[in-house]
Amino acid sequence: MNVLIVVLALVLLGAVIAVIAGPLRASLDHRALQTDADASPRRAELEAARESKYREIRDAELDFRTGKLSDDDYAAVDAALRAEALAILDQLEALERESATPRDA
């Protein structure tokens, strides 16, 4: 094994350790990981559901405009979708209130 290989292997090992150990060192500085840690899974779930519901509202509108839904059907589907969207928004709002309360306290 020549010197060049040894040097290259050591450089690679150093790079691997530096990459992997970064977060472990950063854990001493708690704030570095705070942003991610406080992201609530429930909020992420609701936000994904909200985006999906918005897309569904747009899709229903496109279905209506391309003649796949009658006026009555579109009115019913649209109302149902908007009600579902409202329920999701309410849950998100409640979650935000919940998370704001302890901070204020």
């Binding site: 472990l24 991610d36 999906s52 908007r82």
Partner: protein, 720 residues
């Protein structure tokens, strides 16, 4: 440099082991820094495996025959272009390519979810590193790409001539990208099930990767078909070969998932089904790799020995058992949030489409693994051929194409019969017009082909109607010109209209398949110079023989020592259509036992087909020259006896001269296939549609649309 490669593999294994531990420890104890460190371990793995891959690639490019894999699959006469691709022609090299691509795709996936789903991502990290660790361990303990021999041989065996084809540069990386990308949704599904977070968030995280896997796998399959058609000398593009089937199965379940995930996104339904499809797709991708690499089933594409069978079977067993356990144990959180509103809805069509796709997958699975099943049950290995596959897959494919035309014209949630009647009018009319035209043209003797043409016309009609109506609606709202309205429509609804384009591509592709397989004319017969034969409406005449000797130093060539072929004149009704020049390359076997002359042409003989392709038909020709005549064999025998290796090319020159002077009859294979070109065009359309669908919406536009939807939803709700 081989030492550096070996160090990389050992380091990669350590990184995998650490990453799995850190991910699981982090998620179990809530120590975020460990989960984060595990994610970084995947990046580190990518760095290490990239280094290993570069080491091996350099060994090939520098003709370092001290590496066993380089000596076995490359040579100085192999052109640089193919030397670079020869890395993945070997068992060891392809394992490294798999692990390397997995590390790159995994890094990208984990980077994109770095700000969310930390607990799900931690489990996914452990699974992905588990896969990577498995492949790295195979390379360390079973098939190392960095094994060396001292002293190094002066010359290598050379790349398998069958693999000296331009698309082979990208076919395996495409296919392997597809396979490795399939494991990403699987890993996230495991994470979602483990953490009981089977909501819309994980679907959102993996959607693009599932689509990318589908796209890469599709392109890989198509390139493989093209290789088979243009290189293998049998004139077909799909032979229901075990390895072809292995790549098709995850593509089918992946296609099913891409449809059913929309139902989960919109309705919170089919959670068990979706998670099962994702897990099945991932397992089938691993099984595909297993088939290629284990040598367990005979295939023209299988390059592995039998040594890797046991580890792969163990991995697949663990995956299947683990998947079943996770789905069963999480059934309480996998309950559907809604029920189907109506049987006449897009959801129902998607469900039907899923059933057909999974049925297709099951049929192919059964046919592919039948040799193993029959051997296990009866002790005799029996296999099923293309007619068996065709019997079941053709009707299913017909239904599939038909459904891909019905889906676009049916609304989500519910559709009324009156609307359906109106929306089906144009597509049904398109199908009926095609039927009438074909019947008038006398095309009635192939009912399945006829049905496929009508179904394809139905799809084209329904998609065209969707584009026209959508553009008109957009024109009415925004007052844009038709082309601008069409572009804006697609840009704002990429997934929907990209998907429609994919449907068109699939319909076009199946038209090519149906036409070329049902109305093909094939003739196999010997011809002497001056002789001719009829193939369908064409006459092919053997004008004269050809012979080309390639000096070994000529590295620009594909490396055959001698090429023998023919000049063919193709005519139709007395009019010249094309001049074709098929040939067969004779390669150096590298076996001194065949004699100084014999070994120069004693290797694998590879057909170089010649084709006149067009949008209506391909005239495809191949030749198998006869060099086993006593006169030609005498040249080789005498040359072996009297000529030194340096003088041996003289005998090849004499052989070529005598072949041209007095050519023996050669065996020819002629095929006239209609519409084959449309298979490749269909594939390109599918690829284009896939790119439209996968392309991310501009962030500014996304924000604007989201804001508008939000305010619209709020306004609507305020009214309610």
């Amino acid at each position: 440099m081989a030492d550096l490669g070996r160090i990389c593999l050992l380091l990669a294994l350590v990184v995998c082991a650490y990453g799995i531990f850190a991910a699981l420890y982090g998620v179990r104890t809530g120590r975020v820094e460990f989960s984060e460190s595990a994610r970084r371990a995947v990046y580190a793995l990518a760095i290490v495996l990239t280094t290993a891959f570069v080491v091996l690639e350099l060994a090939f490019l520098r003709n370092d025959f001290a590496f066993n894999t380089v000596a076995d699959t490359s040579s100085r006469t192999t052109p640089t272009f193919y030397r670079a691709a020869a890395v993945w022609s070997s068992q060891e090299g392809s394992l490294l390519l798999w692990a390397w691509l997995l590390s790159l795709w995994s890094s990208l996936a984990l980077f994109l979810v770095r700000k969310r789903m930390r607990d799900v991502a931690a489990y996914a990290t452990a699974v992905l590193l588990g896969f990577a660790g498995f492949f790295v361990a195979l390379m360390i303990f079973y098939a190392t790409p960095f094994q060396t021999t001292s002293p190094a041989p002066a010359e290598g065996v050379g790349l398998d001539p069958l693999l000296r084809f331009p698309t082979m540069m990208i076919h395996p990386p495409m296919l392997y990208s597809g396979y490795t990308l399939c494991t990403i949704p699987l890993a996230f599904a495991v994470g979602a099930l483990a953490t009981r977070r089977v909501d819309a968030d994980w679907i959102k995280a993996i959607r693009r990767f599932a689509f990318a896997a589908w796209l890469f796998l599709g392109v890989g399959i198509l390139l493989g078909a093209r290789w088979s058609y243009s290189e293998l000398g049998w004139g077909g593009y799909w032979g229901w070969d075990a390895v072809e089937n292995a790549s098709l199965m995850p593509w089918l379940t992946g296609t099913a998932f891409l449809h059913s995930l929309m139902i989960q996104e919109k309705r919170g339904m089919l959670k068990v089904w979706n998670v099962s499809l994702v897990l099945a797709t991932g397992v089938l991708a691993i099984m595909g790799t297993f088939l290629v690499r284990s040598g367990v089933l005979n295939s023209i594409h299988a390059f592995g020995g039998a040594t890797l069978g046991v580890p792969f079977v163990v991995l697949i067993g663990v995956l299947v058992a683990g998947s079943i356990y996770l789905v069963v144990s999480r059934r309480d959180v996998l309950r559907s949030e809604h029920r189907l509103d109506s049987l006449l809805s897009r959801e129902s069509i998607f469900l039907a489409n899923n059933v057909v796709l999974v049925a297709l997958c099951f049929v192919i699975f059964w046919g592919t693994y039948f040799p193993l099943i029959s051997e296990a049950l009866t002790g005799n290995e029996a296999s099923v051929g293309p007619p068996w596959f065709d019997r079941y897959t053709v009707p299913l494919a017909l239904v599939l194409v038909l459904l891909s035309g019905i889906g676009p014209v049916i609304a989500w949630r519910r559709a009324t019969l009156a609307n359906a009647r109106r929306n089906f009018l144009a597509p049904v009319l398109s199908a009926l017009i095609v039927l009438a035209v074909l019947l008038a043209a006398g095309v009635s003797q192939r009912p399945f082909a006829l049905a496929m043409f009508c179904c394809a016309a139905f799809v084209l009609g329904s998609v065209a109607q969707e584009f026209v109506r959508g553009a008109r609606a957009r024109q009415a709202i925004a007052g844009e010109s038709p082309p601008v309205a069409l572009l804006a429509l697609v840009r704002r609804n990429r997934r929907r209209y990209g998907g429609y384009v994919v449907h068109v591509g699939i319909a076009v592709l199946f038209v090519g398949v149906a036409a070329s397989s049902s109305f093909q004319h094939a003739v196999e017969r010997p011809l002497a110079v001056g002789g001719s034969t009829r193939v369908g409406a064409y006459t092919v005449r053997y004008v004269r023989p050809t012979a080309t000797i390639t000096p070994k130093e000529d590295r620009a060539h594909t490396g055959s020592t001698l090429d023998l072929g023919a000049v063919l004149d193709v005519s139709k009704a007395g009019h010249h259509v094309a001049t074709l020049r098929p040939s067969e390359g004779f390669y150096d076997s590298g076996e001194p036992a065949q004699g100084s002359v014999g070994h120069l042409i004693g290797g694998q003989a590879v057909s170089h087909i010649s084709m006149n392709g067009g949008i209506t038909r391909d005239v495809w020709t191949a030749i198998a020259p006869n060099i086993a005549t006593p006169a030609l064999q005498r040249i080789i025998t005498v040359g072996n006896r009297t000529l030194s290796p340096e003088e041996a090319p003289i005998a090849i020159g004499v052989l070529a001269r005598d072949y041209l002077k007095d050519p023996p009859p050669a065996q020819f294979h002629f095929i006239v296939s209609p519409l084959v070109m449309w298979i490749w065009i269909g594939g390109l359309i599918v690829f284009g549609g896939g790119l439209i669908a996968i392309w991310p919406a501009p962030s500014a536009l996304r924000r604007r649309v989201a804001l508008r939807s939000r305010s619209r939803a709020a306004a609507g709700l305020a009214r309610a």
